[in-house]
Each structure stands twice: as structure tokens, then as C-alpha cells.
Symmetry: C2
Subunit: 383 residues, 2 copies
């Protein structure tokens, strides 16, 4: 290295060449990394320690105290933006409904039964258990960061979280209740009525739109910022290891990022599952086809978020894959026609594990009791 300071024309030319090539490579890299980026704009992200606390008492009024964090890296995977909660009373009400098993026929199942906020917003089994131990047809996706999805359910049949929230209540394989029963239950409970009147500045009976709207607004708050990867995106080079960074480069270079991008690292499009090879499964779900009826939509599924993927096993719409390494290998093979070496797989898995963010801090609600006017749950159907 000491020789570099000596006057040697051949070496000078070499250095100049290396410099030019390096510059060109840098331009190429920036262009490539911008290629898959959906928006293109810099992401302005806000975070606040208190934001995740959905116990919305007096202190929650100060939700405007959000500290902006500018993402210094321009990447296809974007930092999660935590927004100030606009309707804390509706969110608090939504949290009560989220945990209230009276939304189900049996009186034993709540939203949280299948989207357990102690477990990454999932139930960690292939398909869920519903009324009378019914076996659900598809894996329950995580509720965390679901606000970033272009639509809800694996087949996108609900346009937003509010529309989604009404579904499981009436699904005979899930909560097996009806919207009529649910509003009758809620309207019979004076405390609930007062909460709804207060939150919605309304009078009279509670309606199902208010119920699903409150649940959706609560779900809107269930985001997981501040993962190690977000810290890295924010400029902290030490936040992830060399292996994890390598995994991220592979994730981009192999093309995973073409579908898994944006703040949720997924959720932004429907894609055919099984591009280069058919995905073998007993699961009968036909994906987007069930909604559109168009042949080309067969086995198109909403791209799942990869945020908190370490918590949201088992994987895929059929929940048939337990290991993240297996999931990565299958995706490489059937979606990208690529066989990862075991080292490559390990690197990608290491990167994926950096996507576990701060889990929402949830204080259990205190649900108001039923009374003699409240329709009773039917846990067991007597023949």
C-alpha cells in the first residue's frame, strides 16, 4: 500500500480505471435497486414509543407526539410508517370487539382466537379451528401490518379491513354467528351502547358497520415498526449482520423482491403460486379465481407479508410448510426457477428474521357483562 504514493504512471492508470468501473457499477446498482421500487419517493416514517400502546386512556390523547425518521436508504423494502391514531375511542372500542367472544355463536371464539396478538397475529396451525371444531379451508394470515395489503383474505375478496371484519363473524366454519345476532348482543349491553355513542358521536342502536369499522380501525394500529431491518434502513449499519445483509442482497438479486416489497414486504399484488413448477398441495383453494371467475386467476394468491415471518409459521396458504428454510427453497424453485445453496438459504432466512418488529403492546380490555336481555351464546347444539 505504501507504493501507492509513489509516482508510477501504470499504477495511476489502473487506479483511474478501477475508479471509473466502480462509479459505473454504483450507477448500475442504484438504477437496479430503483427498478423494483413501487413508489420511488423517499419514505418518511414516524415512530413513537407510545404509539403501539392501544390502551387509549388519557395519555393516548397525546398521539400526535410522533418523531419522524427519514429512511436514508432507498430500497424496495420500505420502512413501516407509524401514523398518529386519529380516532382513539373507536380504536379502543375495536380492541374490545377484537377480544369479545360474544361475536361468535359459541361465545368462545374471538378475532384473537385465530389472529393471536401474543403470537404474531396468527394461530400457528395450518388451518384454523372454528365452531364445533370445524376445520378452516385456508391458513389464517397475520393481522399484523394487514393495513398495507391491497385487499384482504388470500384471494382478496374483501376490499379493505372493514369489509374483511364482517366475514369471519358469519362464516359457519369460523365464528358461525350472524351480523344480526352480534348487533343484538351489543345493543343489549348499556356500556357498549354508551361506548359506541361516544366513539361514533351517534345515537340509537349500534349497527354492524360501526362494529366492523371499529375493528378495522383497531387493526389499522397493529403495525410492527422498528425491526432490526428498519433500523438498518434508517441508517444504522450495525443493526444487521454481514450474513443478514448478504441475505438481503440475495433476496433482491434472486427476484424475491419483485413481489415482496413495500412497507409490508408483500401484500401489494396477486401472484400465481407455482410459476415454474406446480405447487403440490391437498388444499382446494383456487385463489383469486374464486373472486373473478377468470381462468387466468387460478392459483393467484395475494402475496403475503414477510414482516414477522419468524412468528407467523406455518407457511403458505395451506400452512403445510413449517420451516422457513423449506419455504425459501420452495419459493426459489417454483417461483424463480432457482435452486439455492444451503448457504444462500441460510442467508435469506437470516435476513427474513430481521423483519420481526416491535409487537403491538396490547392491554386486555375489560368487557362489560351481558345481562338478562342479552341473547345467549350456543356453545353446544343439542340434537
Amino acid at each position: 500500500m505504501a507504493n501507492a504514493h509513489q509516482n508510477n504512471p501504470r499504477k495511476e492508470v489502473t487506479y483511474a480505471l478501477v475508479g471509473v468501473i466502480g462509479f459505473l457499477l454504483l450507477v448500475l446498482l442504484i438504477a437496479l435497486s430503483g427498478y423494483f421500487r413501487p413508489g420511488g419517493q423517499h419514505v418518511v416514517s414516524n415512530e413513537s414509543e407510545d404509539m403501539q400502546d392501544t390502551e387509549l386512556g388519557a395519555e393516548s390523547a397525546s398521539n400526535t407526539d410522533v418523531k419522524p425518521l427519514i429512511s436514508v436508504r432507498d430500497e424496495p423494502v420500505e420502512t413501516i410508517t407509524v401514523e398518529a391514531i386519529e380516532s382513539p375511542k373507536k380504536v379502543e372500542l375495536g380492541k374490545m370487539l377484537w377480544f369479545d367472544t360474544r361475536l361468535s355463536k359459541s361465545g368462545t371464539l374471538s378475532c384473537n382466537s385465530c389472529h393471536d396478538l401474543a403470537k404474531g397475529g396468527t394461530d400457528n396451525i395450518p388451518t384454523s379451528v372454528g365452531y364445533n371444531w370445524a376445520e378452516g379451508p385456508i391458513n389464517s394470515p397475520t393481522v399484523l401490518n394487514s393495513r398495507y395489503s391491497l385487499a384482504q383474505f388470500w384471494d382478496g375478496r374483501a376490499k379493505d379491513l372493514m369489509e374483511q371484519a364482517g366475514g369471519p363473524i358469519e362464516n359457519p366454519l369460523e365464528m358461525a354467528s350472524s351480523h344480526e345476532f352480534v348487533v343484538e348482543v351489543l345493543n343489549s349491553i348499556p356500556e357498549y351502547k354508551a361506548f359506541f355513542h361516544d366513539a361514533f358521536a351517534s345515537e340509537g342502536d349500534i349497527n354492524i358497520d360501526q362494529v366492523t369499522s371499529a375493528i378495522a380501525l383497531f387493526e389499522d394500529t397493529l403495525v410492527t415498526p422498528n425491526s432490526r431491518f428498519d433500523q438498518w434502513l434508517g441508517g444504522d449499519d450495525e443493526a444487521i449482520t454481514a450474513q443478514e445483509l448478504n441475505g438481503y442482497q440475495l433476496f433482491k438479486d434472486s427476484g424475491c423482491v419483485a413481489c415482496h416489497n413495500g412497507p409490508a414486504v408483500g401484500g401489494g399484488s396477486f401472484q400465481k403460486f407455482g410459476v415454474f413448477e406446480k405447487y403440490t398441495t391437498q388444499n382446494l383453494a383456487e385463489g383469486r379465481y374464486a373472486v373473478t371467475g377468470r381462468d387466468e386467476d387460478k392459483h393467484l394468491f395475494k402475496v403475503p407479508t414477510l414482516r414477522n415471518i419468524d412468528l407467523t409459521y406455518p407457511y403458505f396458504h395451506d400452512g403445510q410448510v413449517d420451516s422457513l428454510a423449506d419455504a425459501v427453497n420452495i419459493m426459489g424453485k417454483i417461483q424463480l426457477n432457482r435452486e439455492f445453496t444451503s448457504e444462500e438459504t441460510a442467508d435469506i432466512v437470516a435476513f427474513l428474521k430481521t423483519l420481526t418488529g416491535d409487537q403491538p403492546q396490547i392491554t386486555l380490555p375489560k368487557l362489560p357483562p351481558s345481562n338478562e336481555n342479552t341473547p345467549k351464546p350456543v356453545p353446544f347444539e343439542k340434537s
Copy 2:
């Protein structure tokens, strides 16, 4: 009133008489109220705003900051004593286990499924739903204030909360797992192992005694102080209404308090259910007899706590009574041979509703994920 200051001998005699009679009545009242009192000593009760928060982070170390509150009324119903948490790490671990559905065979049921802390520590259905939608044999009693019970379960077959905690895990009609399976699951998860090692100052594998001990210590914290009745016990005359006070007097005078006394207003003895009249039920439970095999123990049940009774419907060991008024009337008739007037019933019900205390403030735990070494749950048994 101005006349009182005039010199009038007849009035002086009247005042003296009223004074003497008043004094005698006071003595009588004190004697009567002391009659049913089990202990006799003044109750020293501590309470602290933070005590009920079982999120045991750094701040929980300061649990010694408990303010003593001396009960100024000498009553058979005692104020709840909130004690400083001695083992915050074990309690936090117990809370994780309490909410961890991996303690069940299906991976979907946790302690909280049947003892829901959002609903007064119960499931509010007659008998619970277990593995494969099995119907439980008996009503799930509230976990709240269960630490005050002389034994656990309706028939008292577990001597304490630790012994109780092991039961539902293995009961095929409940979580349907095994202690072996549970410790295998927990031992496969490095985070759990580290938490156990830290909390129990232990090394090596987690064992089932540590599991049930942690759960029991968490349950120990689930007390509900500061009900309006406790405020009244503490000397606040305005805390309960004249009707509620009347209900309490009736509750004592009719003899309810003979069994429903102490800090939990129950839980202190086994009593025959159906003294003057047989209690008619389809429920096959034989109570204490199942434990002792002695004929005289047939249909003896542990006296349930009346704390938070407004939240813990439906009532009795068979969960067949939904209305508190009905429950009071039945108890009057079959236990005390007394027919309450509707006004008396209303007064007693009003009193009972003053027993709803501060519910535990529970922050959902963040459960560490399973991994490839973790035995998988079996939600559906394939034939």
C-alpha cells in the same frame, strides 16, 4: 333546634333516654356484626395503583410501595389484601404460560380460553369447550381471587393453585395434552429456557413443577381490590347506596354470610348444595364425594366466591342459572329455607354488584416462536 338550648326538664329526660337507647342499639349492632366474623382481627389491607399491572418490567421491581389501608368496619366480608409480588420474573413467566396455546394438544386452547381475564376470569358459558369441541362436565369457576380458596376445583381435589394448574393441561376434555409434551415444547424454545433459568435460578431442562408453579404465582396476582364495597369497608359511607347497604344487611341477616364470608366472600368451606330442598339439575357432578368417597360428602361443593359475581355468570356448578336474581332466590329457598320478596332479592343483587373490583390490568405477553425442534400441535386428528 333553637329550643334545645332552653332549660326544659322533660326534654332533658327525653334526650337522655334517646342517648341510652342509641348506645344500647350500637352495642347490639356491634355484637351482631361480630357474630359471623370468622377471624375477628382487624383486616390490614394494602393497595397500590401499580400492583395489578402484571407487566413486570423494570418498574415492577418497586412493588414494595404498598400503602396500608386499615379496614374501619369490622365485618364478616373482608377487604382484599393486595400483597407485594415477591417473584416478578416467575409471575411474568406464568403470564406467558397462561396465554400460551401450546400448552394444549390442538395449539388453540390456553388457560385464558376458559378463564378469560377480559371477562371476569370465566368463559360465561355453562360448561367449557375443550379439545375437539368436547363439552366440559362442570362450570369453569373464575380464576380471580382463587388464591383465597381453601382448595381448588368445585370438589376441592387440588390442594392449591399449583396442583390445579397441572389438571386442565392433561384433561382429555380440556387441553388434552400431557405434561411430557408441554415440557418438551417449552424446552425446545431457547427463549423460554432462558426465562425459566433466570426466573428459577435453575439450569438444565424446564420441568412441569416449574411450569405449574409459575402459572400459580401469576394466578396469585389475579385479585380484584377496591370494589365499591371495599371502599365502604374502608370507611367511605358514600361508596354504596342505601339499597346496596340494605342488601348487605339482608345478606348477613338471612345467613348467606355464614358461608360467603372472608376476603373472597366465599371459597372458605365445602357446603352441601341443597340443604332444605334438592337442587334439580342434569349435571352429574357429585362434588366433594368424588374426592373422599364418603356418603356425607355427596353434593358438597366448594362455596364459590361472590367477588365479581356480576361478571361470572352463568351461576352454580352446572352453570344453569343466568340471572343473579334467580340465583339469589334459589339460594334462599334451597339453602336457607327462605322466600325473598322481589324487593329483598333486588336489594341483595344490588349489594352483590358492589363486589366487582378493579380487574387485573393485563398486558398480552409476546410469546417466543416455536422452531423446527418444537413438537407440533395436533389441531385435527386425522382418522
